[in-house]
């Protein structure tokens, strides 16, 4: 059995006296989509930022592609990518210009053909000469995803990619992500507050609360363990403080 693509061991992050992440451990297999769930302040974004090397861990270990993130950050980042609803590509450049810049930043040799190919894959070829800041939310999300898949990442971190989109666009974006992932075999870590998103997209879910992993499993396993019909119901129960048994204690 091949080693996991990503291994997180006993990850801790303290901001002064406040412990934001408290002994989180998990692994991600190749081709898997893992949903990171939890109420606001659960530690999802901090974990995500630590996986990207934006925040250093207080203790614990992150290994990606069999290498320590701490000592091989640039080599690892070259094989990863990221997209978030809370960041944007420079709004004052054309779509194709932004993608060309990021293709360069990721060191893609055949960047012209790769940009063209990715724009076609995500249905944004017609937007190539549009100013990025003038795109609709749905168009901007697709362009952001285009940037995220430019370097054919083996690991992709998606932070609420469908936030603030209407249900029709959410459905299209979800399908696009799922289809592209199936074709490319990319492993994905996915955060969302849209529980339907998580159920439809993710193979496995990791529930965080107050910086700790409280459940890990497939969406069906999670629902069954809470004797609940929907992930939304599980989410609300966890957010309101009930059912907080820690994964390792089960």
């Amino acid at each position: 059995m091949p080693p996991p693509l990503l291994t997180v061991q006993n990850l801790v992050k303290d901001f002064g006296e406040f412990r934001a992440v408290d002994g989180v451990s998990f692994a991600l297999e190749r081709g898997e989509i893992l949903g990171l769930l939890g109420p606001n302040g659960a530690g999802k974004t901090t974990v995500m930022n630590m996986l990207l090397g934006l925040i250093s861990a207080s203790s614990g270990r992150i290994e990606i592609f069999g290498q320590s993130l701490e000592s091989h950050r640039i080599e690892i980042l070259r094989r990863m990518n990221f997209s978030s609803a809370y960041t944007s590509l420079p709004g004052n450049l054309l779509v194709r210009q932004n993608l060309a810049v990021f293709a360069m930043l990721y060191g893609i040799r055949d960047w012209r053909s790769r940009v063209r190919e990715t724009m076609e894959r995500f249905g944004v070829a017609a937007l190539a000469d549009r100013i990025t800041g003038h795109l609709s939310a749905g168009e901007a999300t697709r362009v952001n995803l285009c940037k995220a898949f430019l370097n054919r990442p083996e690991l992709l971190l998606l932070d609420e990619p469908t936030a603030s989109l209407d249900p029709d666009v959410v459905d299209k974006v979800r399908t696009l992500i799922r289809d592209t992932q199936r074709e490319s075999g990319t492993s994905i870590i996915y955060t969302s507050h849209n529980m339907q998103d998580i159920e439809l997209v993710c193979d496995r879910v990791l529930f965080l609360h107050r910086g700790r992993v409280i459940r890990m499993g497939t969406p069906d396993e999670i629902k069954a363990s809470f004797d609940s019909a929907s992930l939304e119901d599980v989410f609300i129960r966890i957010a309101r403080g009930g059912d907080l048994q820690i994964a390792g204690d089960q």
Partner: protein
């Protein structure tokens, strides 16, 4: 799919090339302030030449030389600091920091942008200075290269320190980032000699490489032979300033990663 040499630096430069070539207003901004300053100082120079005694003629041309060389340092600083702020303003900073770009590549990319800004504005300013005030920057001969080189290096150091301020204190430090070159300007002897400053401020001036460059410029214009010595001191100081700015930037990045400041600055 493998990286090609300097692809990250090329990407950073390409981003600003696109920005300035597709937006006329941004290109206008490159020229407006330096031309404005040149005209004000140029006309003041002409006025003083016409109304002052004969020996005033040379000192007033120092002012024009100061304007042109000051712009080199200012543009180099801005190339580094405003390029960084541009990523903050457009909420693109996280995208850049999670790309496989080493810190030195990021800084080198910004420095290259600063250098290109100088390459674009200084020739235009020089032509204007010659056409309007008969001030020929080429009269500096080969000294022009070390003048420019030293001011570029110091501008880059200032830009890195400005970026460290923004990284550490967020957008609250933006104003300071813009103001940093002007905070130093009174002590850097652009338009007057270091001796003009009060005694207790002269060591401050002498610690700045740019002061030695502006002093050397005045020596060159006066036909004195102390130009090389001043430029040598400026270069030595520049190495110290660059090393210090690099270390400060590295230290602040460490703090930013520890405290989660990168994401705060990037998404505020």
């Amino acid at each position: 799919m493998n990286a090609f040499p300097f692809s990250a630096i090329t990407g950073i430069v390409l981003r600003y090339f696109y920005l300035y070539t597709r937006n006329g207003l941004r290109a206008f901004e490159l020229f407006f302030w330096p031309l404005n300053t040149l005209l004000v100082w140029g006309f003041l120079t002409r006025y003083l030449s016409q109304t002052g005694p004969g020996e005033v003629a040379l000192p007033v041309t120092f002012l024009l030389g100061g304007v042109l060389l000051w712009d080199v340092q200012f543009r180099a600083t801005q190339g580094v600091s405003v390029s960084f702020l541009e990523d903050v303003w457009t909420r693109n900073l996280l995208n850049v920091f999670v790309a496989p770009v080493r810190t030195w590549e990021l800084v080198a990319g910004f420095c290259a942008v600063g250098f290109l800004r100088v390459l674009i504005t200084v020739p235009v300013l020089s032509l204007m200075a010659f056409a309007a005030f008969q001030f020929n920057i080429l009269d500096f001969n080969f000294w022009l290269i070390p003048f420019f080189g030293n001011l570029l290096l110091f501008g880059w150091s200032m830009g890195m320190l400005a970026n460290a301020l923004v990284l550490r204190w967020g957008q609250a430090a933006e104003g300071l980032s813009w103001a940093l070159p002007f905070l130093l300007q009174p002590f850097t002897a652009v338009y007057y000699t270091v001796e003009t400053l009060p005694g207790f401020l002269q060591p401050v001036a002498l610690a700045l490489p740019s002061s030695h460059v502006f002093e050397a410029m005045r020596h060159a214009m006066a036909g004195e032979d102390r130009v090389g010595q001043g430029l040598g001191v400026a270069f030595g100081l520049n190495l110290l300033w660059l090393a210090t700015a690099g270390m400060v930037m590295h230290w602040v990045l460490g703090i930013a990663r520890e405290k989660g400041l990168l994401t705060k600055v990037a998404t505020q």
